[in-house]
């Protein structure tokens, strides 16, 4: 009897189910090839000696006995924690001003605060060299302390991570229920008490999340300590030295693992707190609208102006350094720093960066969005979908430097049939897509979640294949977030250093990496010029994006705007 019942369970499938299953499996294979297996070869490398024989944890023992290497771990933690504390405090106040006060010029400040997103992290380090370096304008301010070291690393890190913190905190602070404040007011609560009992608890998951994101970014960053770290060694620069300088791949792998673990922990805490954040606001909440408060508004205006000024001075100095003849002796303007031929580089690396960014944006957006759709909207194969979801979140926990090193070990192996992509543009594109997968993936998932979950059911009942409805409804509705994802990928591909430092070849040098090498050779002005080139492109792409959003989307998204016309 029960046997007979079970015979009934086999279900019929239609074509969209079969295509969905095929695609899910393809995604799993791709993730295995370009994420899991490379990381596996990194781990196995850390357990081998130079001849490739398995030696257990000997390398780790060696690492623990090397005080210099151990010092780097301490240094990494120190700069990461200091930067995190400073960034969280500054970004919290800034986003408080943007979301909870009636400070004037909010749009302007928001725009300025996001500038560091458009430049490679090394740009900040280069600007600091101009301001506080050995021949810096404000060298005396440091009271004899050198900018090359923890001070420089922390200052530059604060600069380039600030907008990341600002984005998370602004989102978190703007999700607040004004009814809570009204209730507090009616109960005669002081503003200060309301701040500590409503505002801070409401934003606490955002704050936690921010802290861990910033910690990971600084902890794993390579560019800034490379340029301005001087003799102050951190884990990221150690890995580079071991691998590139001493060809000690095993030790590079071991340090990578040391870098990976805190990043993983931070990642899981971040995921956890983000999940909590969402459940705080109900659909019945009333969005908070700030009231005018002259004193607070003015204090905030002063604070934000000061930060905005610093940001402008930083990027301004980088630009200035790029166009003066010979700092600090000849301050006449020139464009010869943009002629990289002198340094034996030419503009090739710049064009390569643009190509990389372009391919990453196009292919990355398609792959990520389709992947998110499979996870979110397929109605069968839940097990496979969970695997893909897990893989899609993993890249966030893997520092770019670690992923890059893992790629060397995996793809440079002679017996790997994919060996042919090594040292080509392909491996750079793949690496960059994987490196920035998670954030884009989450954006796509959020957009898809906002769509009625019954669309697919309706389509099936009307005998419309899922792919047709994807084309006719899902894609048009999701166009704005799709543009956002492609811009995010483009700008990050332009500015990234840590992901690609191990992977470029003679034919595929990149602008951000070249800037580091120019700086290494003492060509600081050229390095600044190269970093500024990246900024120009990023700005141009952002502007184009804004225009597209305003003009083109208005047509395809007519249904969004029409609400206002008739209701």
């Amino acid at each position: 009897m029960s046997l007979f019942k079970f015979a009934n369970i086999r279900r019929g499938k239609d074509s969209s189910d079969r295509v969905g299953l095929f695609m899910l499996i393809s995604y799993i294979i791709l993730f295995l090839l370009f994420l899991v297996l490379p990381l596996g070869s990194l781990i196995s490398k850390s357990l081998q000696n130079k001849d490739g024989e398995f030696i257990g944890l000997t390398n780790y023992n060696l690492y623990l006995q090397e005080p210099a290497l151990f010092q780097s771990l301490y240094n990494s933690l120190f700069v990461a924690i200091c930067s995190t504390v400073i960034v969280v405090v500054l970004a919290f106040l800034f986003s408080y001003a943007l979301t909870r006060t009636c400070m004037p010029f909010k749009g302007f400040f928001k725009l300025i605060a996001l500038i560091p997103l458009l430049s490679p992290s090394i740009l900040a380090a280069i600007a600091l060299v101009y301001w506080f370096g050995n021949q810096g304008v404000l060298k005396e301010v440091l009271l004899g302390k050198s900018i090359y070291g923890p001070i420089g690393i922390i200052m530059a890190s604060v600069y380039w991570t600030f907008p990341h913190a600002l984005i998370i905190l602004t989102t978190s602070l703007s999700l607040s229920d004004s009814r809570l404040y009204e209730a507090a007011d009616v109960l005669k609560t002081s503003k200060l008490r309301a701040f500590f009992t409503i505002t801070i608890p409401g934003a606490r998951y955002g704050i936690i999340s921010t802290a861990f994101v910033i910690f990971t970014q600084v902890f794993t960053d390579f560019g800034v300590p490379k340029v301005i770290g001087g003799n102050y060694n951190v884990l990221a620069t150690d890995i580079y030295k071991e691998v590139v300088g001493m060809q000690n791949f095993q030790m590079g792998a071991v340090i990578s693992m040391v870098l990976l673990v805190p990043a993983m922990i931070a990642f899981f805490i971040d995921r956890y707190s983000r999940k909590k954040q969402i459940s705080l606001l109900t659909s019945r909440s009333v969005v908070f609208k700030p009231k005018k408060h002259f004193k607070v508004d003015m204090i905030m205006l002063g604070f934000c102006s000061a930060l905005a000024l610093i940001i402008i001075l930083m990027i301004g100095m980088a630009q200035y350094g790029a166009i003066v003849k010979f700092w600090p002796y000849n301050l006449n303007f020139t464009l010869k720093n943009y002629d990289f031929q002198v340094a034996g580089l030419g503009w090739d690396s710049f064009y390569n960066s643009v190509r990389l960014a372009f391919y990453t944006a196009i292919f990355g957006t398609i792959i990520i969005f389709v992947g998110a759709y499979l996870i979110e909207k397929l109605r069968i194969n839940e097990g496979y979908r969970n695997i893909v979801q897990f893989f899609a979140l993993m890249p966030m926990a893997v520092p770019g430097l670690v992923l890059g090193l893992a790629y060397i070990f995996f793809f440079n192996a002679k017996d790997n049939p994919l060996n042919f992509i090594y040292a080509t543009m392909i491996i750079l594109v793949v690496n960059t897509i994987v490196h920035f997968y998670t954030v884009s993936h989450l954006t796509a998932i959020t957009a898809l979640k906002q769509m009625d979950k019954e669309f697919e059911s309706v389509s099936l009942s009307l005998k419309i294949p899922i792919y047709k409805m994807f084309w006719r409804v899902t894609l048009p509705v999701c166009l704005p977030p799709i543009f956002d994802v492609s811009i995010y990928l483009f700008v990050n591909a332009m500015t990234t250093v840590s992901g690609v430092i191990f992977l470029y070849s003679y034919d595929t040098t990149l602008a951000s990496v070249s800037a580091i090498h120019l700086d290494e050779q003492g060509e600081v002005a050229k390095a600044a010029a190269m970093a500024m080139l990246i900024v120009y492109v990023s700005v141009a792409v952002r502007l184009t994006h804004t225009i597209i959003t305003k003009k083109v989307l208005r047509k395809t998204q007519a249904w969004r705007y029409n609400i206002l016309d008739t209701k």
Binding site: D452, V458, S461, L462, K463, I464, P465, V473
Partner: protein, 357 residues
């Protein structure tokens, strides 16, 4: 109950999610052109049953037979049905016209035929002048009518409605109830509606299946279910019901404390503990104290509800609960109800029912 007009048959259908059994051993028969409702509180499995019939969920065991064809293992795209959801699920970027014609385009209809069919459907749901608008420009009721038109566009043999009216205002809901019912009669399409609103089920359905904890616990016409509820759960879920603890005495009469009530005791025997159930509208106020089935007490509270007044009545040592009595407003004016006024309740023995405790 074999019948030549059986349109849809569900046989021994069960569905589990992990260890949770959402529906258990469901057997139903639906006649061609019938309008049936799955009625029950949230979490009773009614939506899961509907989704199994649509093929949107796969049953764990059992089968679904539509027009004598076993469709249990067919994907939704191979089944013949149209569906309307509580959330409307209208495509936001397509106009009303494109939403309704969405399913027609795929079936290789000619442009002119599509236009004709959509116009026909638009006039059927009274939305002709809204054809070029986007869903967000319509009210909730209008959106739901578009969803209905979209589901009916391909002339499916079976129409599935998943809580179609739950997201709407009370007034719109009442209006749409009638419109959907009229439309269903006119087209003669076999329809299954899922709802948790007993009033909706009673006004619209030919037959109601009441569900609880994944099982169908009673089925029948709306008036059958209302007057012959087979359990205290259904009696209180469908309409409201007063329950009074009672015992059957040796002379086969129902005794509530010291008061003796005459009514049909059915299968119960002497000394059984039972519940006496009476609907609020079946109780009247009497001032004299002579008839049978009289319960004395005091009026505690009166709620004015427009066409009738709801009176909360405290009895003496009969039940701790207040007994609810609905009095038509016209009657109430005559008998001068007042708080703390002592009165007697009366009900006829046909209106009282007995349930086990």
């Amino acid at each position: 109950m074999l019948n030549n007009n059986t349109y849809l048959e569900v046989k021994d259908l069960s569905k589990s999610f992990g260890s949770f059994e959402a529906i258990k051993n469901i057997d139903i028969n639906i006649q061609e052109g019938e309008f049936v409702c799955f009625l029950g509180p949230s979490g009773c499995g009614k939506t899961t049953l509907l989704r199994c019939i649509a093929g949107l969920e796969t049953q764990s065991t059992g089968s679904v037979i539509q027009k004598n064809i076993n469709i249990s293992n067919e994907p939704p795209s191979n089944r013949d049905f149209g569906i309307v959801f509580q959330s409307y699920a209208l495509f936001p970027n397509l106009s009303v016209f494109s939403n309704i014609s969405y399913g027609l385009i795929n079936n290789k209809w000619k442009k002119a035929d599509i236009k004709k069919r959509v116009d026909e459907l638009l006039s059927l749901v009274n939305l002709t002048e809204h054809a070029t608008k986007y869903p967000s420009q319509l009210s909730g009721g209008e959106q739901q009518r578009v969803a209905l038109a979209r589901a009916l566009a391909t002339s499916p043999g079976l129409l599935l409605l998943d809580e179609p009216l739950s997201a709407l205002d009370a007034k719109v809901r009442v209006f749409l109830r009638k419109q959907i019912r009229d439309l269903q009669r006119k087209l003669g399409v076999t329809t299954i509606m899922v709802t948790h609103d007993q009033e909706e089920a009673q006004t619209m359905a030919d037959r109601i299946f009441v569900m609880k904890d994944g099982e169908i616990i009673q089925s029948g016409t709306p008036s059958d279910i209302y007057t012959k509820a087979n359990s205290p759960f259904i009696a209180s879920f469908i309409g409201s019901m007063n329950f009074i603890p009672a015992v059957i005495d040796s002379s086969n009469k129902v005794k509530c404390n010291k008061i003796e009530i005459t009514c049909d005791i059915g299968k119960f025997k002497a000394n059984d503990s039972v519940q006496l159930a009476i609907r609020p509208e079946d109780i009247q106020f009497k001032q004299n104290n002579q008839d049978d089935n009289m319960i004395p007490g005091t009026i505690k509270e009166i709620e004015f509800l427009g066409s009738f007044q709801r009176v909360y009545f405290e009895t003496i040592n009969i039940t701790d609960e207040l007994i609810i009595v609905d009095v038509p407003s016209a009657t109430a004016r005559k008998i001068e109800l007042d708080i703390n006024k002592e009165m007697n309740l009366y009900f006829s023995k046909e209106d009282a029912r007995i349930y086990s405790t």
